[in-house]
């Protein structure tokens, strides 16, 4: 590829990316406007860049508490999903029998159930567990984590299952001969090689859980337990939205995930570099 072509390609790529981001532009500019400015022109740049709406949003959302809650719920859920799903998927791939196939298909099939149809029975089940087993599944972060793991299990198993095949089975066999237990084989040999897909799953799950509104809104009631998306409810009336605060709140919500994604995706690239050495 010659120099000029390369530059054209670079410019086109960046231009495409910017068009892609137009909705984000709308989010940003409207976080600085009051209602009449928004009414006059929703697309224009704001007349002033004052961060008052951000300050208001931070305060109303009780941001620090909500941030801590979101962080706890998301991290613990994602770690558990990754650990349990990778183990399960490995077993399902390496044990090639009818049972494994059925279990895998059940995981896959359940991804097609719309959440709206599960929510009522789910709440009843959780209520039943609380009354009869004494485990408070509702209105606790741990209960939400439990449900997060359940709902994100399918996707993670599905993804691990798909990528597990690219791992040479010979390595595992060698390790087994060396006297490693299955546990050792998995954690020492297999899991490290799943790094790229693990990070991919972590990214997808972190984002999904961080942004989730519906499930936390059903399970968490107390004010002190609210995650970040839950705390933005103040800005969403039945018929209208307090646009500036909602947009400011949204921007504040996604900044941590942007940072996380930016760091995580570097590891994906590093992962390949390492893979190439091997």
């Amino acid at each position: 590829m010659n120099r000029v072509n390369k530059w054209i390609a670079e410019i086109l790529l960046v231009a495409l990316a910017l068009v892609f981001l137009s909705p984000i532009y709308i989010m940003l500019v409207n976080s600085f406007k009051d209602r009449s400015e928004l009414y006059n022109n929703a697309l224009a740049l704001p007349t002033s860049f004052s961060f008052t709406y951000y300050a208001q949003a931070l305060e109303k959302m009780n941001f620090l508490t909500a941030f801590g809650n979101s962080l706890y719920v998301t991290i613990v859920s994602v770690v558990i999903v990754v650990v349990l799903a990778s183990m399960t998927a490995w077993m399902l791939v390496r044990t090639n029998n009818r049972l494994s196939q059925v279990i895998f298909m059940v995981f896959v099939a359940t991804m097609l159930i719309p959440f709206q149809t599960l929510m009522m029975p789910l709440m009843q089940t959780m209520g039943w567990i609380r009354t009869n087993l004494g485990i408070p599944m509702l209105n606790t972060h741990e209960g939400l984590i439990f449900m997060n793991v359940g709902f994100h299990a399918s996707l993670a198993v599905f993804l691990y299952h798909g990528f597990m095949k690219s791992i040479p089975i010979a390595l595992e066999e060698a390790a087994t001969l060396d006297g490693c237990s299955k546990f050792g084989v998995f954690w020492r040999i297999v899991f490290p090689m799943l790094k790229t897909i693990t990070i991919t799953i972590a990214i997808l799950d972190v984002i999904a859980m961080w942004n989730d509104y519906l499930l936390p809104s059903l399970t968490l009631s107390d004010k002190g337990l609210r995650t970040i998306p839950l705390s933005t409810f103040y800005f969403f009336g039945e018929f209208t939205i307090v646009w500036n605060l909602a947009m400011a709140g949204l921007t504040l919500t996604i900044i941590p995930v942007v940072i996380f994604y930016f760091t995580a995706q570097k590891h994906i690239i590093k992962g390949i570099a390492e893979g190439a050495v091997k």
Partner: protein, 291 residues
């Protein structure tokens, strides 16, 4: 002895997740199936009445649901193509050796970071204000008008928003797949004189089969279940032209308060969709190449 041990390992590795999964997904789903045979308004303290298959019979007489299912299928097919062409295209772009590709892959992924209802509200500004503005000032008014007022274009609008969001999502899965392809394989092909297109179709695509399986499936399931964007962008309108399946069920359960019928709809649609997608997974899985 060994066989017994293997079984023990199998149990140890899979049971924790299966336990959680069963409590959270399987049991509620089964309860949901039971509810599809019951007449109930969804309020715990109110009467429940067993009605056999009557809910199912009613669903099949519900023209609006049939229409909704048909729209959902149209939507899914359009979304499937657009999302995966875009996602694959983007992944090839950002794994090329361009300097800006690193930045670009973050930018392309950004849409995913905005979740839920608000995404639809933001896009509403684009389809109403921005499109009107472009139409009036730049021309091309047969493309740039308020899409949300036209039954057909309102559906396209949802496709666009969905594709915009999902393209970045599938992109990162395609990236993960592309990076699993050993460089030496590509270099060898290049040395053998294979052109870019040839390398793409003969080496990259076959090796990307697992990614295709996954992305096609994820797009399918995401499209069939679409709710948030549907609600916030068009609200099912105009004139019910974009009331998709999940929204139809939601309106049945929380609008009309007919819980049993809502569940029956869910079960029917689940069976149909599951049949289609499992066939899809089965077919693409068969084409995957073992390393």
């Amino acid at each position: 002895m060994n066989k017994w041990k293997n079984k023990a390992w199998f149990v140890l590795f899979t049971v924790p997740l299966l336990l959680v999964f069963t409590t959270v997904v399987i049991i509620p789903f089964i309860i949901g199936i039971v509810y599809s045979f019951i007449k109930w308004d969804g309020i715990a303290a109110n009467a429940k009445q067993f009605v056999g298959f009557s809910n199912y019979v009613q669903v099949f007489q519900d023209d609006r649901f049939m229409h909704s299912a048909w729209i959902t299928i149209q939507f899914t097919l359009m979304a499937l193509v657009l999302v995966n062409v875009a996602g694959l295209g983007l992944s090839l772009l950002v794994t090329s050796k361009l300097k800006s590709s690193n930045l670009a892959r973050t930018l392309f992924f950004m849409p995913n970071l905005i979740g839920g209802l608000i995404l639809g509200y933001i896009w509403k500004f684009i389809f109403t204000d921005a499109f009107k503005y472009i139409g009036e000032n730049v021309g091309a008014e047969n493309i740039f008008f308020n899409w949300l007022l036209n039954p057909q274009y309102a559906l396209y609008a949802i496709v666009v928003v969905f594709a915009w969001q999902m393209a970045g999502y599938t992109m990162i899965i395609y990236i993960a797949g592309l990076q699993g392809i050993p460089d030496d394989l590509m270099e060898a092909a290049q040395v053998d004189g294979a052109g870019p297109w040839h390398r793409l179709t003969k080496i990259v695509f076959p090796l990307l089969m697992p990614s295709f399986t996954i992305c096609l499936f994820l797009t399918l399931s995401g499209a069939f279940k679409i709710f948030d964007v549907n609600l916030s962008l068009t609200g099912g309108g105009p004139v019910n032209s974009t009331e998709m399946f999940a929204m139809n069920i939601f309106n049945e359960i929380f609008g009309y308060s007919r819980y049993g019928i809502g569940q029956a709809k869910a079960i029917i649609f689940f069976v149909v969709v599951a049949a289609i997608t499992l066939v899809q997974v089965y077919i693409t899985k068969k084409r995957e190449v073992q390393m």
